[in-house]
Amino acid sequence: MIRTLRYLGRLGLAFVQRTGRATLFVFRVFAGVPALVVHFDLIVAQLYSVGVLSLVIILVSGLNVGMVLGLQMYNTLVTFGATASLGPVIALSLVRELGPVVAALLYAGRAGSALTAEIGLMKATEQLSGMEMMAVDPVRRIVAPRLIAGIISMPLLAAIFSAVGILGGYFVGVGLLGVDDGAFWSQMQSRVKWREDIVNGIIKSVVFGVIVTWIAVFEGYDAAPTTEGVSRATTRTVVYASLFVLGIDFVLTALMFGD
């Protein structure tokens, strides 16, 4: 009994310590950002690897989620005779929640794990150490561009997800299930508000971008420089990033859409 408590206590302390280290780390990364203006090409390269390469999964998932929403919501709304609301229901679900959250989860899995593995492997093969010995700060050169690219990419990916999802819902609702075309869009336009819904969704995705990329680069930088170390770090990134996204989503939703 006591042993379990001690174990939990140690876990808790280790967690707190890790969080502290992670916070100091991210401050260091942000401190290196202004210097990046000179190295804009580094950010562009990272935008490609983190953003562009995630496009496929975002597009496909967005389309599918939108289509599924169309089907499912139609089934429920038709019992109330309220199929005219299909447009706003799909749009609001995507723009407020599913767009930012699902895009963040997919991003954590695809780009987050890749970032962790890349940085972790660079650490394991002493490339980071070598860079340090060549008087180049690896935090500024390797980590900072990746963090910035992540923060920029996330809202873009979430927006693309939502937009494609709405189109998917349109194809299913109007194309397949016969909901009225005009009603679909006009109801949506009157119910979806720019400031409250879309901008809040964007804010959410920016926050998620920071969190997921932060976790990803930190885990990579902090990984034990062995094969197991990198593999464990990659798993941790996906798990923690997903949990944090869902947790922060609740907090943000309560703040933004509560009363």
């Binding site: 562009v44 490609y48 953003g51 562009v52 873009l156 927006a159 937009a163 720019w194």
Partner: protein, 160 residues
């Protein structure tokens, strides 16, 4: 190195993201229709505004002509004061226009409906609409219905 390809791809990505945001803004939300470039402000007082909110639409004949920009409660007169902005194009509302709080559809959101009167003078910036009709509150409706129903049956039965 394929920097050129990379840069093009990133450019496409960012453009796609911005296009998606734009689409969301214009086609999905009410941003396109909600910005009123220039308009004039009028106020109206109601006993009960029901579920009316700031940004709620102001319509006349079913057409959106403005929106609610402010809601206050007047403690001296115990009334709700609603401020709305009407598009400058629609400047021919007579001063005896009636403003009512209606509900769109059965369960939809509430909006301010303007029913024009017959006066010769038109509403200008800062005017107040004096003829108002409050929102229908479901409980009061039911209460009135029950009361009038029992009244009806009482008088119908006559004296025994």
């Amino acid at each position: 190195m394929q920097t050129k390809l990379v840069e093009i791809a990133v450019g496409v990505f960012v453009a796609a993201g911005i296009a998606a945001l734009f689409m969301l803004a214009m086609k999905v939300s009410n941003l396109a229709s909600s910005t009123i470039s220039n308009g004039y402000t009028v106020t109206a007082r109601f006993e009960n505004i029901g579920g009316l909110k700031v940004q709620s639409p102001v319509s006349a004949g079913g057409v959106r002509v403005g929106r609610v920009i402010g809601i206050k409660y007047d403690q001296s007169k115990y009334e709700a004061e609603v401020t709305m902005i009407i598009d400058a194009r629609y400047n021919r509302f007579p001063v005896d226009t009636t403003a009512s709080v209606f509900t769109s559809g059965l369960l939809g959101e509430q909006y301010v409906n303007l029913d024009p009167g017959g006066a010769d003078e038109y509403l200008k910036n800062g005017d107040e609409i004096h003829m108002t009709q409050s929102a229908l509150v479901l409980e009061q409706l039911i209460g009135r219905f029950l009361y009038s129903a029992s009244e009806g049956s009482n008088s119908g039965s006559g004296t025994k």
